[in-house]
């Protein structure tokens, strides 16, 4: 197998390398191994990522609104107002939003309201508002922040429907079924946002690279500071203490493909490819806002300080989507902050894939190439509400990818 042939031809190392190769060398004979790979399964040309720390142009920190019992969809009465809760979606808000909104709106519409108030304008609030409009209600969103500045936009923004969505030991016994209903409803709704200008919702290939055979844990970089000792008692103690439900919807997404050596363009021993749905925040957010306004929606900028204030709203049916603020506003002790940080490299539209290697994930989006450090799995950031930026963490992640690309041959002399 001609390894250099694959590197040069499967991973397009920039125009210069390709052109140089054509001009100075006779065409390489087609490698025999390639012919054994079905044409549709061959890895297409992939543009290299300019992973350098000085191209990190933004770092975002969020607090995932994790709720140990799973999202709160309860109904409660505040004065003469019916409040339908819709918060606590952990790392799964973007994914589950439409399904969760559907459940909340069904409860809200049972009171046959003409007007509905939605509290909060993150992804859960916006999808709740749009779903309520589609159910025939006039909707006003009361929010202290609009979408670009809500915590939602500091998330990963990928289809990760069971990412820190519950603690397995705390979730109600029927939560798996509820979760599945949410996930399937969201998946169907998201279909209608595919293929639109700007790709608000889209798919990409996700390459998982490893130095070890798949199934073996990725070694932790000893240079990374260890997790602080738990500041809580009891669970979770490890990633597997979190609820995992993905098997319930395994039929929705293709299975990962192991890339054989002759179909692996990366300079690592093991590689697989799966398919990842993700959300382009800018396009998707603006589209949802436009749709909300076009359907007669109104926005009122307002901060609430106690649940009793909701009784003063003119709308008597309220869908409550405060995200993490529920911990302090509603004194919901099941809410736990889970810190997450994403670094952003300057956008490269030619990079159209995602990648995970050595506990670093890369996802190329319209507004930048997202870089996340994944070491310590779901325990990372648990019960941590520090929203300050740790640049060193993102730079370290970028360097992992930088080193990976440095293994490719340089431009031939």
């Amino acid at each position: 197998m001609d390894r250099r042939y694959l590197l040069k031809n499967s991973l397009a190392l920039g125009g210069l390398v390709g052109l140089g190769g054509c001009a100075t060398h006779p065409p390489s004979p087609p490698p025999k191994a390639v012919s054994s790979i079905p044409i549709e399964d061959r890895v297409p040309h992939l543009a290299p990522i300019r992973a350098h720390t000085d191209r990190l142009f933004d770092i975002k920190v969020c607090i995932r609104p994790f709720r140990t019992k799973g999202p709160n969809l309860d109904v409660e009465q505040i004065g003469d107002a019916m409040v339908v809760h819709n918060y606590g979606h952990g790392g799964s808000g973007w994914s589950l939003s439409w399904g969760s909104a559907n459940m909340a709106v069904q409860k809200a519409m049972s009171a046959s309201p003409k007007q509905i108030a939605v509290i909060g304008c993150g992804i859960i609030g916006l999808t709740s508002a749009l779903t309520a409009q589609r159910a025939g209600a006039q909707v006003t969103i009361y929010t202290r922040e609009l979408l670009p500045r809500t915590r939602s936009v500091r998330a990963n923004g990928s289809w990760t429907p069971d990412s820190r969505i519950s603690l397995a030991s705390e979730a109600p016994s029927n939560f798996g079924a509820t979760w599945e209903e949410m996930a399937r409803m969201s998946w169907k709704t998201l279909r209608s946002y595919l293929g639109l200008p700007g790709n608000p919702v889209t798919f990409t290939d996700h390459y998982r690279l490893s130095d070890q055979p798949f199934g073996q844990p990725t070694p932790r970089d000893p240079a990374i500071p260890p997790l602080p000792p738990p500041s809580w008692t009891g669970l979770p103690e490890k990633s597997s203490d979190f609820g995992e439900y993905a098997d319930r919807i395994a039929d929705l997404t293709p299975k990962p493909q192991i890339l054989t050596e002759d179909n692996n363009p990366f300079p690592v021993k093991y590689a697989s490819r799966s398919t990842q749905m993700f959300f382009n925040f800018t396009e998707y957010g603006q589209l949802l806002m436009s749709n909300f306004y076009a359907a007669g929606g109104k926005i009122v900028i307002r901060d609430f300080h106690s649940p009793n204030e909701l009784a003063d709203l003119p709308e008597k049916v309220i869908i409550n989507c405060p995200g993490f603020a529920a911990r302090d506003w509603w004194k919901d002790k099941a809410m736990v902050p889970v810190r997450g940080q994403t670094g952003w490299l300057i956008p490269q539209p030619e990079v159209n894939y995602a990648m995970t290697y050595r506990n670093v994930q890369i996802l190329s989006k319209s507004d930048g190439i997202m870089v996340i450090a994944l070491e310590d799995g779901d325990m990372k950031g648990y019960n941590n509400s520090d929203e300050s930026v740790r640049r060193a963490e993102s730079e370290r992640a970028v360097r992992v990818i930088e080193e990976l690309f440095s293994r490719f041959p340089t431009n031939p002399a």
Partner: protein
């Protein structure tokens, strides 16, 4: 009609227990100064030394006033005391939070007075956060009607 309206307003004030407002000099300059030191140590890292906030962190000036207007100070105190500092919520003493609150009032141009802001929820409940100075005739009129 007008009489009924004023009675209703008085009933609301009685219900909320608010007998003073943020324009009535509810903290002292010395207390605000202490609070300012604490603010820079505990809050400034996120909210900014000048309280202007960042893209992600809300400012504690400007829109801060309309956002809290109408609440009584016990609500604001309770929020600060239980939710802040964000990375170590609830870690400051009640006295420290009262001082920080005094600093926030001063930074938002509410006048100082001669009595320190109390850390007692009951006392704080009696103080209403008014973004705009209430018209001076409101109180006397109420009294006249009474």
């Amino acid at each position: 009609m007008r009489h009924k309206l004023i009675l209703a307003v008085m009933a609301c004030m009685a219900a909320s227990g608010a007998r003073a407002g943020t324009w009535d000099g509810v903290y002292t300059d010395a207390q605000a100064q202490r609070g300012g030191v604490l603010f820079q140590q505990q809050c400034g890292r996120c909210h900014g030394a000048n309280l202007a906030g960042t893209f992600e962190t809300p400012p504690l000036m400007g829109r801060f006033k309309p956002y809290w207007s109408g609440a009584t100070l016990d609500t604001l105190f309770d929020y600060v005391a239980t939710a802040m500092p964000l990375d170590h919520p609830g870690s400051l003493s009640r006295a420290a939070n009262a001082d920080i609150l005094a600093f926030l009032l001063k930074a938002n141009d509410f006048p100082a007075g001669t009595k320190e802001l109390s850390a007692s929820s009951e006392d704080l409940k009696a103080i209403r956060f008014d973004a705009v100075r209430p018209p001076p005739e409101t109180a006397p009129k109420s009294k006249r009607k009474k």
